[in-house]
């Protein structure tokens, strides 16, 4: 190759090696991609440049295998007449999307995965995941006000799984608690498919005024570029570990593949950045350094600003000595930001950072043209058109193939299985409640400070968390929920995607909220496997359809692929998180029954499906059947009915039916502060229905309302109007017993609620408590 304008030799001789096919492969680049790099540069890249291209064109940054699918998501709200909910910053435009919530205020939120780092080092992996997503939010100018997380682990019987679970929860708790952002919710599932492949998805939401929105764009030639936050070390070079091994005399042992977080540093950075951004006109652009750190932040800001950028690595604060350009550009050290400041106002930012005992280092400036130029000791070590890194990355339409097992699982029927009788039922409920996926997650969330900032209205444990936002002299209430049942997606990724959205919206409706927008985290296996890609494609199709149908725009998200090991890929897990607004404080609704005499109304009827249920898995060891059917219009009617009943003042408690079905849901409604019981009379059940499916099946589109004494008729009438099947199935009692009576099946059972609650509440903590630390609890 002729190499016009070749760059001078790198100051570090180890970087001046010939780029061999082997090196290219080990950077995860295909031969065709390498050719494209050469065309872009008009010469061979040097090793630093190769590293830069490899991270920017990785799946993580370029979404090369998933972008065509992501483009199918609606990114705007179709209904423009709504008083709030307009998308102010769209998915993909910036580090996080922004949604109008009225009165000049907005929220920014996004979810991000840290699956692979958490598998290697659960504590630090999860902690830095939280740190990373918080930065994505405050870089937009928003003050972070809540965190949630979606976690998936293997079977809790395994010691390895326990170690991962304990480490991940401790890591999240460590980071969130210290930085002072409440962790108000999340979800945790345990399933074999996550053995060895834990998922850790963290979400942050922040608030800001419309006029405080900041962009990650480098504009204004001559404006200085500042580096703020923690110094750069050789953290996270594990992704390019070959380089660590070959390019340094220092031993591999000194090169941690995991990043370590410092929530204290991030708290200072957060406060300093918000203080700086509040000064009018001072900050031109700002971007956090996440994965691909300095590389990503420099080329992305330049690309968004249609400008060039030049930085000098000698000015970059460094924690270690002798770092070369490759290492500095690819380091994933945490708690760092890049800020473009208005020229002539350097002193102002320096003073703010000094107040917080931090340094703001001027590392470069915005330049004319389109090039990202990196120098070290004055020597140019990389010179690349910035937009080629962000816009010209490869794009692949992967092959999809329906997995063979689907034909079999879809065709399955429960006919061979014995149905429940009274005796079996008696044992089944407490066991269901003790299943780790259903059991109380108290062991998890009591380790999270979920009350700091003093705005948590509905604490973890209910269908959705509700947080009061303090907005100047105004208050607003947001509800948030994370959902995704990987088992449904395994059995039918398209339905699974739809269900994830439907369930999230059902949770919001039960809390009294109107949905605003969603963020998703697509966790899948290797996309080069057609069966895996099929799952990804179909899940996204289901999600996108549901988003359109419900008119809930996608404001951002994250894709995590290659979640697999020698035993195969994880179940497709497109985690969704939807945020809703509750217009009046009086409409905030919890899932706990409040007093004897309330009527229990089942909305959505008894479809009686058993496929994909926990019951089937738990009692029969079967992960099979058709995933529950989805009727989007029926769902919408259900949500509207729930909200209407809440607004009319009839509803004391509302709870959606999901994992574990009807009896699980009723039990959970009795686990509030006041000891209560319930009497269920399940007459009029369909003749052909199986009892197991009726009581524990996971048909969608259903919810339970506990309505004020005397309000049952009004609610039934309301449901009749909206066309949602509704039945009065029981009553809340003073006696703390749950009694179920199915006269037509000659089946009856009853349980002490305290016993059920004990099973449910202590299941996870009894597995996780370490000997010698006798557990003592209040509350």
């Amino acid at each position: 190759m002729t190499a016009p304008a070749n760059l001078p030799p790198n100051p570090d001789p180890v970087l001046n090696v010939e780029i061999t096919p082997d090196l290219i492969t080990r950077h995860g680049l295909l031969p065709g991609e390498y050719e494209k790099i050469k065309t872009i540069l008009g010469r061979e890249p040097n090793l630093t440049e190769l590293g830069i291209f490899s991270v920017m064109w990785s799946e993580h940054c370029s979404y090369k295998n998933s972008r065509p699918l992501l483009k199918t998501f609606p990114v705007e709200k179709a209904d423009t007449s709504a008083p709030y909910g307009r998308v102010l910053v769209k998915a993909g435009e910036e580090n996080a999307g922004i949604i109008d919530i009225g009165d000049g205020w907005a929220i920014s939120f996004k979810i991000e995965s840290h699956n692979h780092p958490s598998a290697v080092e659960p504590f630090e992996g999860a902690a830095t995941g939280v740190g990373g997503i918080i930065r994505d939010i405050f870089t937009m100018g928003a003050r972070p006000v809540l965190l949630t997380n979606s976690l998936r682990f293997g079977r809790l019987e395994s010691e390895t799984v326990k170690r991962l679970f304990r480490g991940v929860v401790a890591g999240i708790s460590h980071y969130g608690n210290c930085i002072g952002v409440p962790t108000v919710g999340g979800d945790v599932y345990f399933d074999e498919s996550y053995d060895g492949n834990p998922l850790v998805n963290a979400l942050c939401l922040g608030t800001l005024r419309h006029d405080q929105i900041k962009r990650g764009a480098a504009t204004g030639v001559g404006n200085p570029v500042f580096y703020v936050g923690a110094p750069t070390g050789r953290d996270g070079l594990g992704g390019a570990s070959f380089a660590s091994r070959e390019l340094s005399e220092e031993s591999q042992a000194d090169r941690p593949a995991v990043q370590k977080g410092d929530p204290f540093m991030e708290k200072l950075l957060l406060e300093a950045c918000l203080e700086m951004m509040a000064v009018p006109g001072l900050v031109v652009g700002i971007q956090d350094m996440g994965a691909a750190g300095l590389t990503c932040s420099t080329c992305e800001t330049a690309s968004r600003g249609f400008a060039g950028i030049e930085i000098e690595l000698d000015a970059v604060p460094q924690r270690e000595t002798g770092m070369n350009s490759y290492e500095i550009m690819l380091s994933e050290s945490q708690e760092r930001m890049l800020v473009i400041v208005k020229r002539g106002r350097e002193r102002e930012i320096e003073e703010i950072f000094e107040k917080w005992d931090l340094h703001a280092s001027r590392v470069g400036e915005v330049t004319e043209g389109d090039r990202m130029v990196v120098k070290q000791g004055g020597v140019t070590v990389a010179d690349i058109p910035a937009r080629s890194l962000t816009e010209d990355g490869p794009l692949y339409h992967r092959e999809a193939k329906e997995p063979a097992y689907l034909a079999e699982t879809r065709a399955w029927t429960p006919d061979e299985l014995p149905d429940l009788n009274s005796l079996m039922l008696q044992d089944a409920l407490p066991q269901m409640l003790a299943h780790p996926t259903i059991a109380s997650k108290r062991w998890v969330y009591r380790q999270y400070d979920h009350m700091v900032q003093a705005g948590t209205v509905v604490e973890p444990g209910s269908d959705a968390a509700v947080v009061r936002l303090r907005l100047g002299d105004k208050e607003k209430f947001v509800a948030i929920t994370n959902d995704c049942n990987g088992r449904y997606c395994y059995l039918d990724p398209h339905r699974g995607g739809q269900i994830a959205m439907a369930e999230a919206l059902r949770n919001l409706a039960c809390s009294g909220a109107v949905p605003l927008a969603m963020t998703d985290n697509l966790n899948f296996g290797n996309p080069y496997k057609p069966e895996v890609f099929y799952g990804l494609r179909e899940s996204v199709r289901g999600l996108a359809e549901a988003c359109r149908f419900f008119d809930v725009p996608v404001v951002g998200g994250n894709v995590s692929l290659y979640n697999e090991n020698q035993n195969g890929a994880i179940d497709p897990t497109p985690v969704v998180s939807v945020v809703g607004l509750i217009e009046e404080e009086a409409h905030i609704t919890r899932q706990y029954c409040r007093e004897p005499g309330e009527s229990l109304i089942l909305l959505g009827g008894y479809p009686g499906e058993l496929g994909g249920s926990i019951y089937l898995m738990f009692f029969h060891g079967l992960k099979t059947g058709a995933a529950p059917a989805v009727d989007l219009a029926g769902e919408k009617a259900l949500h509207d009915t729930i909200r209407a009943a809440i607004r009319a003042g009839h509803v004391r408690a509302a709870h959606d039916l999901s994992e574990g079905g009807l009896l699980t849901a009723v039990s959970e409604m009795l686990f509030g502060k006041t000891p209560l019981g319930a009497k269920l009379d399940l007459d009029e059940i369909p003749e052909e229905a199986r009892l197991d499916a009726l009581l524990f099946g996971e048909s969608q589109g259903r919810a339970l309302l506990s309505v004020a004494p005397g309000a049952a008729d009004a609610v039934l009438a309301l449901a009749k109007e909206t066309g949602v099947p509704a039945r009065l199935i029981g009553e809340v009692t003073k006696d703390a017993e749950l009694a179920v009576h199915c006269p037509e099946r000659e089946t009856a059972a009853f349980w002490r609620v305290a016993k059920l609650r004990h099973q449910w509440e202590t299941s996870i903590e009894s597995r996780m408590t370490r000997p010698g630390l006798d557990d003592d609890e209040t509350d």
């Binding site: 608690n177 210290c178 410092d262 708290k267 380790q447 009350m451 003093a454 209040t778 509350d779």
Partner: protein, 233 residues
């Protein structure tokens, strides 16, 4: 009564405390940065919760050397009131303004929940509720396990320095009701002179209708009621 809420790097309950005093109690309050050396004539100085200096080394160990601590000592020495909440309690213990120390929770895990407390007889200025009555206040800490030697404990009792103790659902200070392993279920204390208060529970998280209880109001009111004559000498 003027309130100063100190702010250290890593404080994260400073705004909550500010709002509790300013909005819920309607008192004049301001946030005071730790590098300041004056308390601006405050009557009550609040050392808020959080993770001052990241809680590195030991909780509160580094904060006690901040410039503002000199002024705080002087304020306390002159009989001015001081309230340390959570990390603030840890800072006051580290600074020697309160006896004892706070170590890792017995379970080694962070605990966030609404705890039951019983109000102890701690002298004439301490009247958030009738002695023996129960309060429900949030706690959120990893190192709230109060430790003091036997002599010190005897002294706390003799001088009525214990403010509240953790209790079970029935209101008894049992081991089951103890979330962190504190000696004698101690959740809050005051100094011998009666003007410096420290507590692990967060009264500022229990002052609004949306909070788990409103019991924080009684606690904060008790602390902002002018001291009875002689109590703070």
């Amino acid at each position: 009564m003027k309130i100063a809420v100190l702010q250290f790097p890593g404080s994260n309950c400073d705004q909550d405390a500010f709002h509790a005093f300013a909005d819920a109690l309607g008192l004049p309050a301001e946030i005071v940065w730790h590098k300041t050396t004056s308390l601006g004539g405050a009557d009550l100085v609040v050392v808020p919760g959080g993770f001052s200096f990241g809680d590195y080394l030991r909780c509160g160990a580094i904060a006690r050397f901040s410039p503002v601590m000199e002024a705080l000592r002087e304020h306390a020495a002159n009989g001015g009131r001081v309230l340390g909440i959570c990390n603030g309690f840890q800072i006051l213990c580290e600074a020697g303004l309160l006896p004892g120390a706070l170590v890792r929770n017995r379970t080694l895990e962070f605990r966030c929940l609404t705890s039951n407390l019983v109000v102890e007889d701690a002298g004439p200025d301490w009247n958030p509720q009738t002695v023996g009555q129960r309060l429900r206040l949030p706690i959120a800490h990893g190192e709230g396990n109060y430790r003091i030697d036997d002599k010190g404990l005897a002294k706390l009792k003799a001088n009525q320095q214990i403010l509240f103790r953790y209790a079970d659902a029935e209101g008894n200070p049992t081991p089951q009701g103890n979330p962190n392993g504190s000696v004698d279920n101690i959740a809050g204390i005051r100094n011998e002179a009666g003007n410096v208060f420290g507590m692990m529970p967060h009264p500022e998280r229990a002052v609004e209708r949306i909070h788990p209880s409103l019991d924080g109001l009684a606690v904060l009111r008790a602390l902002t009621t002018p001291a009875a004559a002689g109590a703070s000498s």
